[in-house]
Symmetry: C2
Subunit: 516 residues, 2 copies
């Protein structure tokens, strides 16, 4: 049962981080590249993770009063053109539908036919098509605020793709809201950024820095873009979510007007905000190790796997009966009974731990060596494995292996209960967040000159310094170091200092880093 | 408080059923046509209904061992061409992506650029792209069965569209499974048809007939298609879900092979099955009336609306306090407390009745006349309204109005509890199903000659008769009556009879009807 000297994932993080990332995804069976350029297939384990992310976040949205809706996949080309900065930002990566049927071509194969009068763009984001709806929905201040969210697929024709981090098609949510005043729009923009930050920390155990993007990094068409930034284990930054104050830009482009309390017709103030399947990339890179995926308990589709160990038929019978009891103790007798009925004859007994069937304990009764099963669950990042052999049965005990830290602890069977399992999960969740936060802090330096900055960036990690925002200076830094301003953090020391590059006085510090 | 003599929905069902349908959707705010040809916008009330449908059905799928995944939106043209019948069936309605960016054209506007070497089709269904994955995932009988489902948007370029019933883009789920034997594939095909039938009856209160489609009505590429058929209030049929046994057709086209127990390499047997947002059309047309939408309690996003009635400020305070107590009694004190906190200052107090936040009781504190609030909730199909005026407070009572039958009953406040509300909901749910079933039975006739059939079809409803399957005969019947074979029902009388059209001996009866 001792681990092989080699790591399960080759290469290791140390040896080749980008390749390690691909191999973790492969070994954990989360997703794969498809034959369609730049598009991925999200496999059942990856999709179950996404379902848990959606479920958790959706409840947080709804708690703020947001409602879900659904808008068309296709956007008329003329709509995109209505907001100049917006179309400029997306024109280079649009999938364009030009025909609406197929017919036999001269060589016998099918060719596109039925040319459209106006080409349709597969949505890269939906500000424009939703703006058109808002214009019809809103006529008075009484109709405001409108708080809408959409869970959808979007398409951006990326040239260099990487699973979850950058794909042509990805799944996401996009919130779109309309407000009566600039202040309300700003409050909404920051409220949703706060929801993202809480979700990243509480569900994904990924600590994030909230802040504002510089002008050169903002969303095409926004007045201001805010983001949450996380540090990966290679000390690069990953933008994990963005929230945009769109001012009146899209309201003007789509004529979204309302009669105000002052009886004047005026444009709404709108926001949009989104997170995507990229969050899965973030949690992989923040937590996983050279043995494979490590999932935060709160979003793990399988919280624990019970692995029976036996040699003889007599042992098998005894151990399996005991494991069933353990599953019942962890999930409740009723849930075990439902599972036994449903999974009769199957090799995996799946017992749900909650009403919504989003998390489960699995009893792994497959044929095969116990050590193979260990690796199976380990590589997939399942937070806990409970190992039970004949001697554990005799002692009325079990071994708990924790994926996150590789620890192995002994427990009496009597302690197993839904509350105990929840407590183990909560502890691991808190420790994962703490470990990631410590890592980030250990890899963040404050610098006082451009030379120090360059030296620090060469080492990797976050570099914090006084910085006077200036697109030209940012461009120069990017060219010389490959680093960008990740955010101007909300948390500032106060007072002023001298910009490390230009020595101009500034009241803001910025975070620089190499980024995904 | 008396109802206006005119109906809320104009025209009535009697006067103009298709137009009534559009007006119910408008009045209930479920969805609207978008500016994008044939695509709809699903508004928050409609999407919340779809969420409840997804949630209920998804749990049923998972209970059979099915897992969710996600596959690319785009299908290479060459993939569609691999299965001859399949491409034949979909070529006329494919949205085709031919370019991957936009650039300035000669006249200054943007035009498609970056022509693709191979056009991509926006998925009308995913047998082909998923077949390609299955070919990579499956190599041995040990890998089988593979049971996959996808919740997704699909696109079929329909020329004549109607909200929910037939739109170019629609939301659906598509199940795709692969099996070792023909028998297992057949069992899966029928199992999922059974899931659809249970869902339609138990959740939507829409009784359905399960049966086989004739050759001329089957899915392009299937060996056999099965369907559930429901009767709408205009006595036309609506196909509410289909399940296809694909035989080895797609396995051959995509080379999905496995090494069998006999050590021979062989093709898998596959199935696919789907339901869509069309289910919303089905439940609207099965239950709604001339006052608006009528929702089955089990899928209604809002189960009950509490409407306070008051004139003076003193009354207002007293009535609102009492309504809050009522909401707490119906949903539980903890849920009320959470809602009070979240909705502080809002005009609607939304108290969830379940863990997953999929159903709620709403306390409507908006300004405005009580009668307007009644119509608001009535037109949206909310199953129950609780009316509370000052005299109800004095008597410690409330009036319960049931949307389904318009009944008005008096209750003591003490009876209000989560269990009581659930019981009311279950009763209405059962009665809605029963009413729809009775309606269908009253509008189904058995005929013994083609003349009788024609006369019966002219009256509307389902016509049941002995029928010997024959595409030419079906075509003739369709031309002469516009009716089609909806299904060869599983429930058959046994024995044989003479086909009503050709007088040939047959062991099967068919259901004919005009259909959506």
């Amino acid at each position: 049962m001792s681990k092989p000297i080699q790591t399960a994932i080759k290469p290791t993080r140390e040896e080749d981080y980008p390749e390690w990332y691909q191999q973790v995804i492969k070994a954990s069976d989360l997703a794969e590249k498809s034959v369609v350029r730049g598009c991925m297939v999200i496999k059942p384990w990856g999709y179950a993770l996404w379902e848990n992310i959606m479920r958790g976040m959706d409840a947080m949205f709804k708690a703020t009063g947001v409602k879900n809706a659904y808008f068309p996949l296709f956007i008329p080309l003329s709509f995109l053109e209505k907001e100049a900065a917006h179309v400029e930002g997306f024109a280079k990566e649009c999938a364009v539908v030009t025909h609406h049927r197929l017919e036999k071509g001269p060589s016998g194969g099918l060719v596109p036919a039925g040319a459209l009068a106006e080409p349709l763009v597969v949505r890269p984001t939906s500000e424009t098509i939703i703006g058109e709806s808002f214009a019809r929905w809103i006529s008075s201040y009484r109709d405001l605020p409108v708080l809408i969210n959409q869970w959808a697929n979007v398409m951006r024709w990326e040239m260099r793709t990487r699973l979850f981090l950058r794909t042509a098609e990805f799944l996401w949510q996009e919130g779109h809201t309309a407000h009566e005043t600039a202040q309300e729009a700003q409050e909404e923009t920051l409220r949703m950024l706060g929801v993202y930050a809480s979700f990243a920390e509480d569900f994904l155990a990924v600590p994030v820095i909230q802040g504002r993007k510089t002008e050169s990094e903002k969303f095409p068409g926004a007045d201001t873009t805010y983001a949450i930034e996380a540090m990966m284990q290679d000390r690069k930054a990953l933008q994990a979510g963005t929230s945009h104050n769109l001012g009146q830009n899209f309201a003007r482009a789509f004529d979204v007007k309302f009669l105000g309390r002052d009886n004047q017709l005026q444009h709404c103030w709108t926001t949009s905000w989104g997170v995507s399947t990229r969050l899965i990339g973030a949690l992989i890179m923040a937590h996983s190790d050279d043995e494979g995926l490590v999932l935060p308990p709160r979003v793990a589709p399988t919280l624990a796997a019970i692995v029976p160990i036996f040699k003889t038929d007599e042992e098998k019978e005894r151990v399996l009966a005991y494991c069933r009891e353990l599953a019942g103790a962890l999930c409740g007798a009723e849930r075990l009974a439902a599972a036994e009925k449903r999974d009769a004859g199957r090799e995996l007994l799946t017992v749900f731990t909650d009403e919504a069937a989003c998390q489960k304990v699995v009893l792994d009764m497959r044929e095969g060596r116990a050590v193979e099963k260990h690796y199976h669950w380990e590589q997939r990042g399942v937070p806990f494995r409970l190992e039970v052999g004949p001697r554990d049965v005799d002692k009325s005990a079990f071994v708990l292996k924790t994926r996150f830290d590789g620890s192995k602890t002994f427990h009496e069977k009597g302690c197993a209960s839904p509350g105990w399992l929840r407590e183990q999960a909560d502890q691991v969740q808190a420790r994962m967040l703490e470990r990631a936060r410590t890592f980030r802090e250990e890899n963040t330096v404050v610098v006082e000159s451009y030379d120090e900055m360059k030296a620090a960036l060469a080492q990797g990690g976050f570099v914090r310094c006084w910085f006077r925002e200036d697109p030209e200076v940012e461009a120069r830094i990017k060219e010389e170091t490959k680093a960008t301003v990740r955010v101007i953090p909300f948390e500032q020391p106060g007072g002023t200092g001298k910009c490390v590059v230009t020595s101009r006085e500034t009241s803001e510090q910025a975070i620089f880093a190499l980024a995904y």
